[in-house]
């Protein structure tokens, strides 16, 4: 099997619109600014001695404050230690604003990946439903409104 019209150059175009690429870049920049602001706000609220970094005691205070726990329960302390250790990527004993910003971005990209997977599954189901409707319509089925495989049972 060969295809006519296919023995041409791999790509040709006279259009040079870059509008979608520009808007993507702008959107990405806006998102980065929001993340920076979030990191800055978190830093200000947790950095009680104003030295531009968060040490373990400041972090524990913030966790206690968020969980409404003023006592140093061992489980709460253990969880806080684990989170602090994960955020302190250069292991200098403090969390810098850069480390905080990096963690926020990583959390966001993880959420994005999960959303993309859900969206892809939905997309597959939608396409499958459309294809079934098209096939059944060709065979004169009166019920082309469902993607259920029950509609394929003769």
């Amino acid at each position: 099997m060969t295809i006519g019209n296919s023995l041409t150059s791999s790509y040709s175009s006279n259009v040079h619109s870059q509008s979608s690429a520009s808007s993507m870049s702008s959107s990405s920049q806006d998102f980065g600014n929001v993340m920076s602001q979030m990191a800055s706000t978190l830093m200000t609220s947790m950095d009680t001695n104003n030295n531009n970094s968060i040490d373990k005691s400041e972090f524990q205070q913030a966790i206690d404050s968020l969980s409404g726990n003023s006592s140093n329960a061992s489980t709460s302390s253990s969880n806080a230690d684990q989170i602090f250790s994960a955020l302190d990527t250069n292991k200098d004993g403090t969390i810098s604003s850069d480390e905080l910003l990096s963690a926020l971005k990583q959390a966001q990209s993880s959420d994005d990946a999960s959303a993309t997977q859900t969206s892809t599954q939905k997309s597959i189901e939608d396409l499958q439903s459309s294809l079934l409707q098209k096939i059944l319509a060709a065979y004169g089925s009166t019920d082309t409104t469902t993607s259920s495989n029950a509609s394929l049972i003769a």
Binding site: M1, T2, I124, L131, I153
Partner: protein
């Protein structure tokens, strides 16, 4: 026009679609290839991580399917009934096991043993539950999943707003819109002379599939076994090309008519070429 060539489903594939920039084409191609590779892997007969492999190597006679596979299987069983078993995923899957034989004698012995189980009536699909009447029946979606992938790809392109496209996965072709203000012009290759077209077809918003015995086969002791597994030893036609609204339809019926030429083709389809 953006044009890409790649391999999938063990055949050469081609995509052509209209986009404004090469970058946009690259982005769309990457997205489409992800889906094609997923389908190829998920429904492969041989890939040990595929859902089909898990079904064929099941530990019990009942299997819970993914939602997508349950619909594909329902579609395959729908066609098995329509074609009176000429298109049969259980026939293909069960007898495919004989192709691992190293001698003609062994091939014939395995085939004889498995033939009673090589029939779609051994399967019972209820929603997303698949029941087997015996442990020997296996299924192979090779005759439908490539066509399904072509239809999914063309529909993905349509939902992306692409106005003109052609998808060709190893001779299973779908085309919509126009190519340079004309319908897509498809050449049907002479199986004995690859450089010669025996016919040309103008295709627009439709699919064309060609099935044949000559291109893909297994050879055992110089005896050729076509990739189209048939209970009939006689091969009246060497090649069959069908035009239909969907690639799944065209692919299934081109195979079915090759296996059983006495079948009546549904009215919404047409024979493009018979050899």
């Amino acid at each position: 026009m953006y044009i890409a060539h790649f391999s999938a489903f063990t055949t050469p594939c081609e995509l052509q679609f209209d986009v404004a920039t090469k970058e946009e084409g690259d982005r769309i191609l990457a997205s489409l290839l992800t889906d094609v590779k997923y389908l190829q892997k998920q429904y492969s007969f041989f890939d040990v991580t595929s859902e089909i492999y898990a079904i064929n190597h099941r530990q019990s006679d009942t299997f819970t399917l993914s939602k997508e596979l349950s619909v594909i299987l329902a579609l395959a069983l729908f066609y098995a009934r329509l074609t009176q078993g000429a298109f049969d995923i259980a026939l293909a899957g069960t007898l495919k096991q004989a192709q691992k034989a190293i001698s003609l004698h062994e091939y014939q012995a395995i085939s004889a043993k498995l033939t009673p189980f090589a029939n779609f009536t051994a399967l019972n699909l209820e929603g997303e539950r698949l029941y087997f009447s015996n442990p020997y029946t296996q299924i192979d979606l090779g005759g439908i999943v490539k066509e399904y992938a072509v239809d999914q790809t063309i529909m993905r392109l349509q939902t992306m707003g692409i106005s003109s496209a052609l998808v060709n996965f190893g001779g299973d072709i779908a085309a919509y819109g126009m190519c340079h203000d004309e319908p897509w012009c498809i050449g049907i290759q002479d199986p004995k002379k690859p450089d010669v077209n025996v016919a040309t077809v103008m295709l627009r918003d439709a699919s064309l599939c060609t099935s044949g015995h000559s291109k893909r086969y297994t050879a055992i002791e110089e005896h050729r076994f076509s990739h189209i597994i048939s209970p009939h030893s006689e091969q009246r036609y060497a090649q069959m090309s069908i035009i239909a609204p969907t690639t799944v339809d065209a692919g299934v019926w081109s195979t079915a008519l090759l296996v059983n030429p006495t079948l009546s083709l549904p009215k919404h389809m047409s024979k493009a070429f018979v050899l």
